[in-house]
């Protein structure tokens, strides 16, 4: 009996530090693969060096993580969540986010206006969906305007995402004198684009494969993917049409009910550090969201990388993020029924 008690006491002593250290870590929810690696290498490690608190990651798809956090409402699995700007509104609308006090994030003072998404979530980096094409496979089309996608030379050559048609829906609405809220004005225009489509890609890898092997030499493509393929030697031209490119912003927020809110604010502050922002831009070829980030000139001149307020204001088509959260399901249904069939 004595031996059992001593063994139990020894076990308790061993477990106690493990329990304490488990409580000290910061849990971050983010996409997997290179996204997780980037957040860990550029933000997480700096945060740990500054605070001594390790970072643990929960990875998964955008909607998968949303569903898991909804089920865990009140007792969140993560302290911080990275997600897209409009999906962030779904979190916020369901009361899953803490309201942010940006006074606790000194680096947010230079946050660009377009990255202040809501009282609950702010941008961390940005990108655009725009026209990318293979100049070696399609010639004589400058793609100076979104309207060039409707040209006969593009027939049977275009690919667009099947998971989010919001870019083309809003572009068609703009070309028809409407906007995201009056998107129905662009329906006829979008139906006229149907002959141009050859395929709809299901994910980033699929998009890269289709344009790299020339199956779809014109795409509505994520700028980061285009720059990545160009770096791999694929001859891709990325253009910002005169109407602008459709902006996408990835955001960060603190989960409601997190017991590490103070640490979370420090993590966000590290994420918005101008040097970290410059490194993120270099790694992913996206836009920093703070105006005091100093980018490598070669990165700054890339299409879709915005470094000044003027670029943000003139080159970006911004779909209201809250409206986009409300409309995405309806847009996907209409697009699948009328364009993808």
């Amino acid at each position: 009996m004595k031996r059992i008690c001593m063994a139990l006491a020894a076990l308790a002593l061993l477990l106690a530090p493990m329990q304490a250290s488990a409580q000290d870590k910061l849990v971050v929810s983010v996409w997997g693969g290179s996204w997780r690696d980037m957040v860990d290498n550029l933000i997480g490690k700096k945060f740990t060096a500054a605070t001594g608190v390790p970072v643990e990651y929960i990875t998964g798809g955008t909607i998968d993580r949303l569903n898991k956090e909804k089920l865990a409402k009140g007792n969140p699995e993560s302290d911080i969540t990275f997600t897209t700007s409009h999906v962030g509104w779904l979190y916020a609308n369901d009361g899953l986010y803490e309201q942010l006090n940006l006074a606790k994030v000194p680096n947010a003072k230079n946050l660009v206006a377009q990255a202040r998404i809501s009282p609950y979530h702010i941008g961390t980096w940005a990108y655009v969906y725009t026209i990318g094409y293979r100049p070696d496979l399609i010639k004589g089309v400058p793609f100076a305007s979104w309207a060039d996608l409707w040209r006969p030379e593009v027939k049977g050559k275009l690919a667009a995402p099947d998971f989010d048609p919001s870019h083309l829906i809003v572009v068609a609405a703009l070309l028809s004198g409407g906007d995201a809220a009056t998107w129905e004005k662009g329906q006829a225009k979008l139906k006229e684009l149907k002959p141009s489509f050859k395929a709809f890609y299901t994910n980033d890898a699929n998009s890269q494969q289709l344009i790299a092997n020339g199956e779809t030499p014109v795409q509505v493509i994520l700028s980061m993917n285009a720059h990545y393929m160009a770096g791999e030697g694929v001859p891709i031209e990325l253009v910002i049409p005169k109407e602008g490119a459709v902006l996408g912003i990835d955001t960060v927020a603190i989960m409601k009910g997190s017991k590490k809110a103070e640490l979370a604010y420090k993590f966000i502050n590290v994420a918005l550090d101008p040097q970290v922002q410059a490194e993120v831009a270099k790694f992913k070829k996206g836009s920093p969201v703070v105006l005091d980030a100093k980018l490598d000139p070669a990165i700054a001149k890339l299409p879709g990388v915005f470094t000044s307020a003027e670029q943000w204001n003139k080159q970006a088509i911004i779909i209201d993020h809250k409206l986009r959260a409300e409309k995405t399901a309806e847009w996907r249904k209409w697009f699948a029924e009328n364009i993808m069939n």
Partner: protein, 223 residues
């Protein structure tokens, strides 16, 4: 009547799992009967509108397309898989058997994504097939194989072929080779030898010499 004193105890875990599974399905199914509220993760009240939307002709057409592609896939998988399975079962050389087995099941070793991308390399406009046809001068411009019914059925046949071959081989291996030899001795042609002994639940094959005699010892096939 034998007693089964442990039946309830042994069945209880499986029953509990089944009940939990049904409960989970019901929890998801109820969303289909509730209204979508834009921008919210919570569904609205009871509605049949979600099912009414399925009555659009578009969804019937999509369903029929699915059935048609499934039919074509099953048909072509059977046509290609049967000879493979037959060769696998009847090959005498062990090395040859192994080669046929490996070739037949290799598609299962690949992940779905890798397998799909590899078909782009074969069927794409700049892929192997078009390149060969262009070089041979049989076509003047690439033929569209990707994103067509042909391309979809080809890829589906590729992925279902291993299952078909293994199932057919398992069935063929249970047929006594003596039936085939008996049919051959009695004069049945090669095609009849292959076809008739392998049909399940058909009446016995009568040998040519004993066509009118049911007591003939050369009756073959399943009863």
């Amino acid at each position: 009547m034998t007693s089964r004193p442990f039946l309830r105890a042994f069945v209880a875990p499986a029953t509990l799992c089944a009940l939990a599974f049904v409960a989970a399905l019901a929890a998801v199914m109820q969303y289909s009967l509730r209204a979508y509220v834009p921008g919210s993760l919570e569904p609205g009240g009871f509605t049949l509108a979600n099912f009414a939307a399925l009555l659009k002709p578009l969804y019937a057409r999509v369903f029929l397309d699915t059935v048609w592609i499934c039919f074509l896939t099953a048909l072509f998988t059977l046509i290609i898989g049967y000879p493979l399975a037959y060769a696998l079962v009847h090959a005498r050389n062990v090395a040859l058997k192994s080669v046929i087995l490996v070739i037949a099941v290799t598609p299962l070793f690949l992940g779905e994504v890798v397998r799909t991308y590899s078909w782009i390399v074969v069927l794409g406009n700049n892929g192997f097939l078009n390149s060969m046809l262009l070089k041979a001068g049989l076509i003047g411009a690439p033929v569209q194989f990707m994103f067509t019914e042909f391309g979809v059925v080809t890829a589906l046949v590729h992925v279902t072929l291993p299952v078909m071959v293994i199932m057919l081989a398992a069935a063929l291996s249970h047929i006594d080779r003596d039936y085939e030899r008996g049919a051959h001795i009695r004069g049945a042609g090669a095609d009849a030898r292959r076809r008739r002994p392998t049909r399940k639940n058909r009446t016995a094959l009568r040998c040519r010499a004993c066509r009118r005699s049911r007591s003939c010892a050369c009756w073959v096939g399943s009863p």
